[in-house]
């Protein structure tokens, strides 16, 4: 099927909330820094950020700067804006993050036609301003 250019969903319709476990991720995103939650004891990465390391039980967390690149693990092609039902081609992608083994982000990808997105495609972070002055990490084709 032919869909044409993949676009990220409009940021002004996206809202997030945070808690003390997740907020450092979003604060870093505000500064256009991609991070992931790393255990301060054993170095295991986990996303989304949670209170305790599932491997060693430590509460210590590090928030290292990641390269901001990744690989498409899987995706869907959608053609209606979920907010209003209008025609809108967007591609939700599940991205394996470079520099944080085992972690993924769910985002939109742009910079290519939707039908050209594929598993294994290299992507780079692309920042989308959203409601309440937060910033969302999306991706574009690398």
């Amino acid at each position: 099927m032919t869909y044409g250019p993949a676009r990220a969903l409009p940021g002004d319709q996206i809202r997030i909330t945070t808690n003390p476990d997740t907020e450092p991720f979003w604060q870093a995103a505000k500064e256009h820094k991609l991070t992931a939650c790393e255990c301060g004891e054993c170095g295991h990465f986990r996303m989304p950020p949670t209170a305790v390391c599932p491997e060693c039980g430590s509460r210590a967390k590090n928030w290292p700067a990641l390269p901001g690149t990744g690989t498409v693990f899987s995706y869907a092609i959608c053609n209606k804006n979920p907010k209003n039902g209008e025609d809108y081609v967007y591609v939700p992608v599940v991205v394996d993050l470079d520099g944080a083994p085992g972690t993924r982000l769910n985002a939109n990808v742009s910079g290519c036609d939707a039908e050209d997105v594929h598993i294994g495609m290299k992507v780079i972070v692309d920042w989308t301003p959203i409601q309440d002055d937060w910033v969302l990490p999306n991706f574009k084709k690398a």
Partner: protein, 405 residues
């Protein structure tokens, strides 16, 4: 080792309302439908509804997506003199057959004598599942999923299906065959919502909602209620029908599946799976049986690819071979012989969520009961064992094996 409660309890009554296209059950109330289903199940069992003293729910006692069952209200409504068991599995439709295991726990602990498991669903516009997901207020957890626009379950499962296609060469033709093979079972079912035969051309023309999934890969949106009564084998002997014996039942799952498509963190090969391997292995261990021993399989079919992935997880075929298994016709029921086709096990002889009605899995239990009673509309000849599965979703998921008495 055989399960300690193997063959100790049985489903003795099944009851339902009519099935309605989404929203069409109004102005009936959801409680009216729930109570009708309970009373029909009791009549089927040959007991009074006032003999029910246990409630074994799933889906966190949800009734659809926004309503909740409350045991106290149901007691008040039905005039039940007392209850001594009220429990639920957590999460959602994944726990449906597991609720029969929960009932068994209450019965074997001598907490109750007759347990009801029920679901009622009324999808008024604001209660549609896709809408509920998409309009859920953001929370710190779903803020890592919702912004991607993966707002409906069909969006979410299309991502799993895509990975399966990538890893194993699975085709959309196989998804279509799941729909067509089970649609072929509804033409003679008075209550089924979709009864017309489905051609491949019609399937291929179905609108793409979340590529690679088409509208026809999504289950129906329907209203209605279904209830089933579980009791001990000694009491079951006095009921109206032959007992559908609870041979094995398990719920749970492993960390690698976890929150599943509400998370998307599952490593391969769990990502492109149904998350059922753990409970499948449990019911096979409890029973000493395997997929080849099942005479009929009632597989939760919210989305067609998840049927294929469950068939792999239960061992009807090897992991990654679901495409060829499905396309060889092995899901089909042959009404002439009353058996499967090409050495397969008939799947969803009632038409399933895709074609008959979607009451969050309860219709699969009803069909399992009717098959081992020998009274199913599309009766599998000499059916001794029926497998029933819950919906692939956040844990727990669950499994049930019913046996002919």
């Amino acid at each position: 080792m055989a399960w300690v409660n193997q063959d100790k309890c049985a489903i003795v009554g099944v009851g339902s309302t009519d099935y309605y296209v989404r929203g069409k059950s109004w102005p009936r109330t959801i409680n009216d439908m729930a109570v009708e289903a309970i009373m029909n199940a009791c009549a089927d069992a040959g007991i009074s509804h006032k003999q029910i003293d246990g409630f074994s729910y799933y889906s966190t006692a949800g009734a659809g997506y926004l309503d909740k069952f409350d045991t106290a209200s149901l007691m008040e409504t039905l005039g039940m003199p007392h209850i001594s068991w009220s429990a639920t599995l957590t999460s959602g439709g994944g726990g449906c057959p597991g609720a029969i295991g929960l009932a068994t726990a209450g019965l074997m602990n001598e907490d109750c004598t007759y347990s009801v498991t029920l679901m009622a669903l009324q999808q008024l516009p604001q209660h549609r599942l896709g809408v509920v997901f998409g309009s859920a207020a953001p929370n710190p957890e779903n803020s890592f999923l919702q912004p991607s626009g993966l707002v409906g379950p069909g969006h979410l499962m299309s991502v799993l299906a895509r990975r399966h296609m990538h890893l194993y060469g699975t085709t959309q033709d196989a998804f279509g065959e799941v729909v067509m093979a089970t649609r072929a079972n509804t033409h003679n079912r008075p209550k089924a919502v979709r009864k017309e035969p489905l051609t491949k051309e019609q399937y291929d023309a179905s609108v793409m909602l979340a590529d690679p999934l088409r509208r026809l890969d999504f289950c129906l949106e329907t209203d209605g209620a279904v209830a089933v009564i579980t009791t001990t084998m000694d009491r079951a002997k006095d009921c109206r029908h032959k007992p559908a014996v609870v041979h094995a039942a398990a719920h749970g799952g492993q960390r690698e599946w976890g929150r599943a498509f509400a998370w998307m963190g599952m490593p391969d090969p769990h990502f492109a799976s149904s998350g059922h391997k753990f409970t499948a292995d449990r019911v096979w261990a409890q029973s000493g049986l395997s997929a080849k021993d099942m005479d009929v399989a009632l597989i939760y079919d919210h989305f067609s690819p998840m049927v294929l992935m469950q068939l792999e997880d239960y061992g009807f075929c090897e992991k990654g071979e679901g495409n060829d298994y499905v396309l060889s016709g092995k899901l089909r029921y042959d009404p002439v012989t009353g058996k499967g086709v090409n050495g397969g096990t008939p799947v969803n002889t009632h038409g399933g969520n895709l074609n008959e009605a979607y009451i969050i899995g309860m219709t699969h239990i009803v069909e399992g009961v009717e098959q081992v009673r020998g009274t199913a509309i599309n009766q599998v000849k000499d059916a001794e064992f029926a497998l029933v599965s819950g919906g692939p979703a956040s844990l727990p998921v669950s499994s049930l094996i019913l046996r002919k008495d």
